[in-house]
Each structure stands twice: as structure tokens, then as C-alpha cells.
């Protein structure tokens, strides 16, 4: 008997699961500081003195515990950027927008975030976070709406 099917058959489906992510000590402290005070915190390594954002309870460089905090930013420097030209499923903003790597003042590491699609976003440019209004902040990294350049270029 010929096993060849008369036509190709596809089954449609999806995997649905709701998650409830525990953020852990360091990230929870960072998120509550944004939500309640509009301040950005970096974790300080007791051993090598490095200041990291995103904060963690452990130093990725030297392996020591991190339990100290220091306020960083709020401004920072663009270390890299890209312009996302087209929208896609789950995109944070309507395209085009910019995806940026920002090193906050006083931090030794950088964080990814988004920025408006303006010429002022370039490597080495200084930027500042635009926080959502106090009542709208929910304790997430999206409480920072985006980073805007201190010297605005024209809209592209």
C-alpha cells in the first residue's frame, strides 16, 4: 500500500501559559525605586567596586555578592543604537523606533531600552530617561517610557 497522503495536512494550535515571574531581590529594589521615587539604582560590588545596571545580587565579573546600592543616572550615554524599521508581533513601540544601549552615569555597564526615531540618537550622545507620570508607574522597566537625546535632532 502506498503511504503517500493525497494532500498535506496541517494541525493548527498554540501554547498558552500565563506566567508570574518573581523578580528577585535586586530587580525588585530597582523597580520599586523607579515606581516610587523615579530614581535609578545600580548594584555595587563589595569586592571589585563595580556598579551594574541591571542590578543583581551577584557580581558577574568577580563572583562576589552584591548588597549595596548607589543611585545612578538619570542621564547616560548611547553606546549603540539601531533603527527598527518595521513593526512585528509584540513590538514595544510603533515602528520606526530606535533600540538603544545606554550606559547610565555612574554605572560600569549598560542597559537596553528604546528611544524616539530622531537624529540625536547616535553613539556617544547623552540621553535622559522620560519617566511615566507617577500614578501610571507599575514597577517595571517600562516605567521609563524611553530615553530622549539631550540635544534633539530633527525628526527623520
Amino acid at each position: 500500500m502506498d503511504l503517500k497522503p493525497p494532500e498535506l495536512i496541517y494541525l493548527e494550535g498554540e501554547t498558552r501559559c500565563n506566567y508570574h515571574w518573581a523578580t528577585g531581590g535586586a530587580v525588585a529594589a530597582f523597580l520599586s525605586a523607579i515606581r516610587d521615587h523615579g530614581k535609578l539604582l545600580g548594584a555595587v560590588c563589595e569586592s571589585c567596586g563595580g556598579v551594574t545596571v541591571p542590578p543583581q545580587t551577584y557580581c558577574e565579573k568577580c563572583g562576589s555578592s552584591m548588597s549595596d546600592w548607589r543611585e545612578v543616572g538619570p542621564g547616560g550615554v548611547v553606546m549603540s543604537w539601531t533603527r527598527i524599521a518595521d513593526g512585528y508581533e509584540g513590538a514595544p513601540l510603533e515602528a520606526p523606533f530606535r533600540f538603544v544601549l545606554v550606559r547610565l552615569a555612574g554605572a560600569d555597564t549598560a542597559m537596553v531600552h528604546v528611544a524616539p526615531d530622531v537624529d540625536g540618537i547616535k553613539v556617544g550622545a547623552t540621553v535622559s530617561p522620560e519617566f511615566k507620570p507617577e500614578g501610571e508607574r507599575k514597577g517595571a522597566v517600562t516605567d521609563i517610557r524611553w530615553f530622549v537625546p539631550d540635544a534633539m535632532g530633527g525628526e527623520e
Binding site: 501554547t15 551594574t52 527598527i84 524599521a85 517600562t142
Partner: protein, 387 residues
Amino acid sequence: MTRSAAIVGTGQTKYVSRREDVSVPELVREAAMRALEDAGLKPGDVDAFVIGSAPEIFEGVNYPENWIGPALGASGKPLMRIHTGGTVGASSTIAGFYHVVSGLFDVVLVAAYEKLSDGNAQYGLSACYDPLWDRDFACGAPGLAGLQARQYLARHAPEVTEEHGAMVAVKNRKNAISNPYAQLQLEITVEDVMASAPVAAPLKLLDCCPTSDGAAAVVIACDRRARKLTPRPAWFAGVGTCSESPYVPHVDMAYPESCVRAAQQAYQMAWIYEPYKELDMAEVYEAFSFQELIWSEALGFCAPGEGGKLIESGRTAMGGEFPINPSGGVLSANPIGASAMIRQLEAATQVMGKAGDHQVPGVKKALAHSWGGAIQFSTVTIFASEI
């Protein structure tokens, strides 16, 4: 290392954007049976199996080894699954190498695959971002690679330009024409690449890999068996793997430490001091054009900042003194879970002298590289015709 090991057989499927006539286990079986046939073996001759698989979200099938194992003839035998981001295909081969050189197993079959057309690749890649920190801003793989390319260009301008990335895209799509398994086989120009649609600046559509369906497999044997199975095995001469922080910001994307260290490990093991002189060719994981330049620098084929000069010189083209990606590379096919293994498979095939129309004459030592995660995993494998 208690004994040597070699690749003695390889198998691939034709890489296509949609492979619709097979299920995932059938697809992987196709590559695995070709590898066994190439080695002159049957499934019953295999002592242990390793399966490499990317995040389950790509196909929506959890613990896929449950179904793929039996399709390969692994029932009743040791089986393990490996996952390390985009390097998974290479990590799986390296796990197979560990199995054999440990002395525990003589013949190991390793298979890796991806069937991206079953799901949504960019959604899956965005879901790989950290949910606590940056998933809300996830921009898939092009977002990450765009940041990397910009950092690299900003550091080395004006010596490296966007056109240098385009030259890689042109070279590798042309090489792919001689590789019957490649998906994108294109005769294009630098102008075509520069004029293609913007994706994640400075990356344009032709700077980016396609999404692919496909599988690859290799048979690894101990020295005693390898010498009996084939007159020219591809010996594992050097292996290096290294991981870094999962957070993008900690990594120097334009000169990743994990890549530098993986290369150092592999060179030390293979007694290689001057990689560009001592190796005959390389297959590197360039899912985006600029990455071939960045990896060339981190692997020591040229000095930092000289990647542009290297591609411009023509020395890495077919017929050049150091061909890179004769197969067409990842820019010509990217079945994600298999892509890192395909680099090793291609390098091994070159050493075995079985690469057909894209064979580089007289290859004695070849390097395979891969990256994965947020540029956080790197592997380097060196194959040699003699050990």
C-alpha cells in the same frame, strides 16, 4: 584526553524556507540516516545519541527528544539533549566528542535541526529576552545584531564601512551557488545589498540570514573505529567553548571575550600559533553580514579593525588564500538549532575532501565557529586530516 575522535560521516537535508512533507522527527531522521550511510553504518552500530535543539517555542513541541530519539533508532540506547542558544548544534557535536574521547562510547550519532516554518521565528527569538528586564523591548535577533554592527562600525570608522558588510553578503550568497544544500543561492552586488530594505540599521534585508527548515547530523567515532570506517576521517584537533553574561550590556559585542577565549582554548589544544597561516579555511556563524568581519577579528584571522580590509582583499573568497564560508554560511541558510553544527560539518567535510563543488583544494586544517544567546556563548572546533 584519553584517546582521539573523528567525524566519519555527515548528513544534511536541503535547506528551504518551508519543508512541508515531513514532521520534525522525520526531518531529523533524514539527515541522520544520510550521516550513517556516509559512515557505512546502521542505527544498530551506534552506542549513544546526542540531539541538539533550540528553544521549544520555535516549533511549539516540548522535550522534542522524546519523539526524535526513536526516529533515529535511539530506543534502548543512551540519549541526551543539549541546548546552548545558537551554538547548540556545535555544543551537541562537542558533547558527542566528549562521549567518545572519555572512552565510554565508540560510536556516537549527533543530530540537530530546526523547522522554523512550523512557528514564528522572530516572535520566538523575542521571547528569548529576559522577562525581568528587557523582554518588553525585545527586537528579535536583528535588533541585537543591529546594536552589534553599529558598535563595531562606530569603533572602527572609517576603516570599516557598511559596504564591507555588503561584500560579505555578496561573497557568501555566491559561494552558496556551489552548495546543493544551501537555501539562498544568489548572484548579487554590493549595490543590491545597500539598496535592499532597511531592517535594523545598519542592517538591510540582504545583510540578514533567511529562516530555514533543515537538519544536520554527524557520526563521531573513536580512533580505532574511525581508521577502519574511512580512509580520511576529520579528526577533532582542538575544541573550545566559552560563556559570558546573558545580559547584552555586559558583553563587548564588537570583540566578544567568549569568542576570543573559545579560540584560545581550541588553538592551544591544536597547537596552533598563527591561525591565519596554519589553518586552510574557516566556517563562521555569520547570521548577519558584519558578523563575519567581527568573528574574523576575534578569532585572530586579522587584527581588530582590519575586518574590512580582509574582505576587501578577496583573500577570504573562494580561490583566495583563506576562504571563509565556502558553503555560503548562515547567510545562505539558517535552521537555527542546526546552523552551528553545519559549520562543523562543512569544515569536517572540507578536511575529508568531500565538499564537492565548493571544496577548497588541499584542506588539512579547518576551523568552525559559532555564537549563540545574546552573543554570550561561543564555540570553536578545529578539524585536521591527521592527528
